[in-house]
Structures are given as structure tokens and as C-alpha cells.
């Protein structure tokens, strides 16, 4: 069955999609990048990080879960929304222990790349929580440093939706919400090194780390060293109208 074609505007640019897509899907197709952390190609969106917040007809909504509709007016790139996104990214930095200088994910970390893209330089706005969460090195090939976890749930969804397992899951609520494993530790679960849940690119930060391959990409050649996150989507811009 062919889906009904729809047309709406993102920052004044007319974009075309079909009913059933999300605002994020249509924006990606049109080459308009909406920043996101918890949403990733291939997994069901869950709308939890709120970095992709846009205004749809004046109301804030998470672009990754918001259904696209004909004639809506989406605002993505304004000083107000950018400042809101910067605050979210700063809070994620301040909730965990993000020591980029010693993190193996540095240079390919999406949290770091998002901070670069949003130009975060100014003094810390919130106090650092400096959590003390145990490191799980039980598995022979995989290490979990939950001090870097941003609770995006990408590993949880990859495990459930692609691997058809339940290796990871949420525990607790609110500020105590964290990602746990289905067992005493990671070695106690049925995780496999080839699972999507632990594949590179699933964890946006340096929480899920493959042992023995750290720092294999030289500085200057890492994923986000030269091009900002999202530029791969912006390269394909096909939308018409004013920039």
C-alpha cells in the first residue's frame, strides 16, 4: 500500500515525506540534520534524550518520535532551541564522569561531538555530580564503564530489537535510572561479541568498550576530528527553499 504523500516546512524549507514517517525521518531524507543522541538508524525511536527537540506548530516535541503531518511548521535551528540543546548536553556531561582525555571513545563519541557541534565552551553551568559507579570488566572481551553511560538505551533496544535478547535493561527511576545487565555481571549474561548491542556505533559514548582495541585510530583521523556530527546527513541536502 502506498503511503499518502505529505509536505511541510522545516525552518522554512519545504520537505516531502509520506504519512507514517517521523519528523526526524523526513528531515534526514531532506538532508536537514536534527541533533540526536538516543535515536539511531535501525532502532525504534524512544524520545528520551530530548536533544532532538524541535518546535512543531509552536510546541516543543521530540523530532524522533513526532509523527510527520501535512502542513506542519517545524522549527529546528533557532538560538532558543540551540541553547536548550546545549543545556541538555551540559547536564549529560555533568551527570557522569566524562574524562575525554583518557576515554577510548574520544573522537568518535557522539556526546563529545554534539558538544563540539554546539560549540560548548563556557564555564560549567551546573555542578559535576562525580558519580562512583562500579566498572564491569568481567567479560573477557567487553568492558562496561557506567560512569560514562548517558542512559540513551541504544544498547537495550539493539539487544531486544536486533539480537532478540535482553542483555541490557533499565533499572530504577528518575535520577537513579541506570542501565543494568541481565545477570550478576556482563560475563554472566548471554552477550556475544558479535551482538548489535555491543557493536561499535551502538553505544554513543565510551561506556561499552571492546577490550584490546583502544586508541587504535590516530588523532586527526577519528570520526569527528574533522567533520561535525550530522555533516553526513547535511551533505545530502535536497530540500528546496531558503537556507
Amino acid at each position: 500500500m502506498k503511503r499518502r504523500a505529505i509536505e511541510f516546512k522545516i525552518d522554512g524549507i519545504t520537505v516531502k515525506g509520506s504519512a507514517g514517517q517521523t519528523v526526524m525521518d523526513v528531515a534526514d531524507q531532506a538532508g536537514i540534520y536534527i541533533p540526536r543522541l538516543c535515536d539511531v538508524e535501525g532502532l525504534e525511536p524512544q524520545g528520551s534524550c530530548r536533544v532532538c527537540t524541535v518546535k512543531v506548530d509552536g510546541r516543543p516535541a521530540a523530532a524522533c518520535t513526532q509523527p510527520a503531518a501535512h502542513g506542519i511548521d517545524v522549527i529546528n535551528n533557532t538560538p532558543e532551541i540551540l541553547s536548550y540543546r546545549r543545556d541538555l548536553i551540559k547536564m549529560l556531561f555533568q551527570e557522569g564522569n566524562h574524562l575525554c582525555s583518557i576515554c577510548e571513545a574520544s573522537g568518535r563519541c557522539e556526546l563529545q561531538a554534539m558538544a563540539y557541534r554546539l560549540g560548548i565552551m563556557e564555564p560549567a553551568k551546573y555542578p559535576y555530580l562525580q558519580p562512583v559507579r562500579p566498572i564491569d570488566a568481567s567479560h573477557p572481551d567487553i568492558l562496561l564503564d557506567k560512569n560514562r553511560c548517558i542512559r540513551c538505551g541504544r544498547c537495550i533496544r539493539a539487544s531486544q530489537q536486533i539480537d532478540r535478547k535482553n542483555v541490557f535493561g533499565y533499572i530504577g527511576r528518575g535520577i537513579n535510572k541506570r542501565v543494568g545487565v541481565d545477570g550478576r555481571n556482563l560475563a554472566d549474561t548471554d552477550v556475544d561479541v558479535n551482538d548489535s548491542a555491543v557493536a561499535p556505533g551502538t553505544c554513543p559514548v565510551g561506556c561499552i568498550i571492546m577490550k584490546r582495541i583502544g586508541f587504535h585510530e590516530p588523532i586527526g583521523q577519528r570520526k569527528y576530528d574533522n567533520a561535525p556530527i550530522g555533516s553526513e546527513i547535511e551533505k545530502t541536502r535536497s530540500g528546496r527553499g531558503k537556507e
Binding site: L99, S106, Y116, M121, P123, A124, Y128, Q130
Partner: protein
């Protein structure tokens, strides 16, 4: 009038100062518009005049760091936290991970001077000379101690990043760094 710049390394590794020297021959251009006051580059340990710009490397891990930082705040118009340690504590802040222990300072010192596998300490002494500044209960970043006006991320920030920041600050505007110069590592 030349701008006066002061710099200091607190709980840092002097990497940010080395990076400042990475501006290479541009230091001659810098000295046309600015002069250094208190800085380890000149081995000048006291302020001679009020300064326009203070560059802070490192956070605070002992009482001397706190006194020095407060002195910089009192003597500088604009205070810039340079590098990961000044901004968020950097590597020294990893010591805060044991702060939930019953006696965190003892545990920290015993780990460093007695129990660590690579330590050779025949007398099992922990340094306690009265001349040594007292270690703080945990490592604090600069903005937890004084008001910080700008921060330059990086571990260390590159020479180019520091050059862009300094030239902008000397002109009296915040630096607008291009993508490639904002780095956290």
C-alpha cells in the same frame, strides 16, 4: 597600552603551558600587544601589577592551589580556565572516586605511597613535612572555588586554540573558535 597576562599551573601537568609555547614565533606578535606578569614562563612568582587576563591551568588539589587561585581572581580582570583540569578537574579528579570511603584522604595517601604495586617505600612513611601544602578532601575545579569568565577546553588546548583565544581576549571579545579548534582531548 599593552595588556598584562598572568598564568599559573595549579593541579595540572604544565601541558597547557607547553601548548601555549606551541604558538611558536607568534609569541613575538603576542608580545607586541601584551606583556606577561606573574607566570612560570618568566619565573615571576608574585603579581607586580593588576592584570587584564589570567590563564589558569589545573584545578585545586591542595590549599596552596586555592590560595593561588584566589590571588589570581583578586588580581585579574578576566580569568580563563585553560584545559580539562581547570574546567572539570581532569585526571586528578579521578581521586574523587574514592571519596565515598570512610577515611578517603588516608586511603588516597596510602594507595599512593604504600599500597600501590609499583611503590618502593621501605619506611612506609607518608610525606608530612610542614612545608608541604595540605591536601584537600577532594579535587575541585576552578569554577567551584572562584568565578571563572571563560574556559578553553582541551587536554591540552592546541597552540592554535590558545592563540585564537588570547588574540580575541586582547581585543576584548570572546573567542569564536572554528570547529577544528574545539577539542576536549
Amino acid at each position: 597600552m599593552k595588556k598584562r597576562i598572568a598564568t599559573v599551573s595549579l593541579a595540572g601537568c604544565f601541558g597547557c603551558h607547553m601548548s601555549l609555547l606551541d604558538i611558536d614565533e607568534r609569541i613575538l606578535d603576542l608580545l607586541k600587544v601584551a606583556e606577561f606578569d606573574r607566570t612560570p614562563l618568566k619565573d615571576l612568582k608574585k603579581f607586580t601589577k593588576r592584570c587584564d587576563i589570567g590563564l589558569i591551568e589545573g584545578g585545586c588539589c591542595n590549599e596552596e592551589n586555592v590560595h593561588t587561585l584566589q590571588e589570581f581572581r583578586n588580581n585579574c580582570d578576566v580569568l580563563v580556565a585553560v584545559g580539562a583540569c581547570a574546567i572539570m578537574g581532569g585526571l586528578p579528579v579521578m581521586r574523587n572516586a574514592i571519596m565515598n570511603s570512610e577515611d578517603p584522604l588516608r586511603e588516597c595517601l596510602e594507595e599512593a605511597y604504600m599500597n600501590s604495586p609499583s611503590v618502593y617505600n621501605a619506611t612506609n612513611d607518608i610525606p608530612n613535612d610542614p612545608a608541604l601544602p595540605l591536601i584537600l578532601d577532594k579535587v575541585y575545579n576552578c569554577s567551584e572555588v572562584v568565578k571563572i569568565d571563560y574556559q578553553v577546553p582541551g587536554c591540552p588546548p592546541s597552540g592554535d586554540t590558545l592563540w585564537e583565544t588570547l588574540t580575541a581576549l586582547i581585543k576584548g571579545v570572546p573567542a569564536d573558535l572554528p570547529y577544528g579548534l574545539i577539542k576536549y582531548d
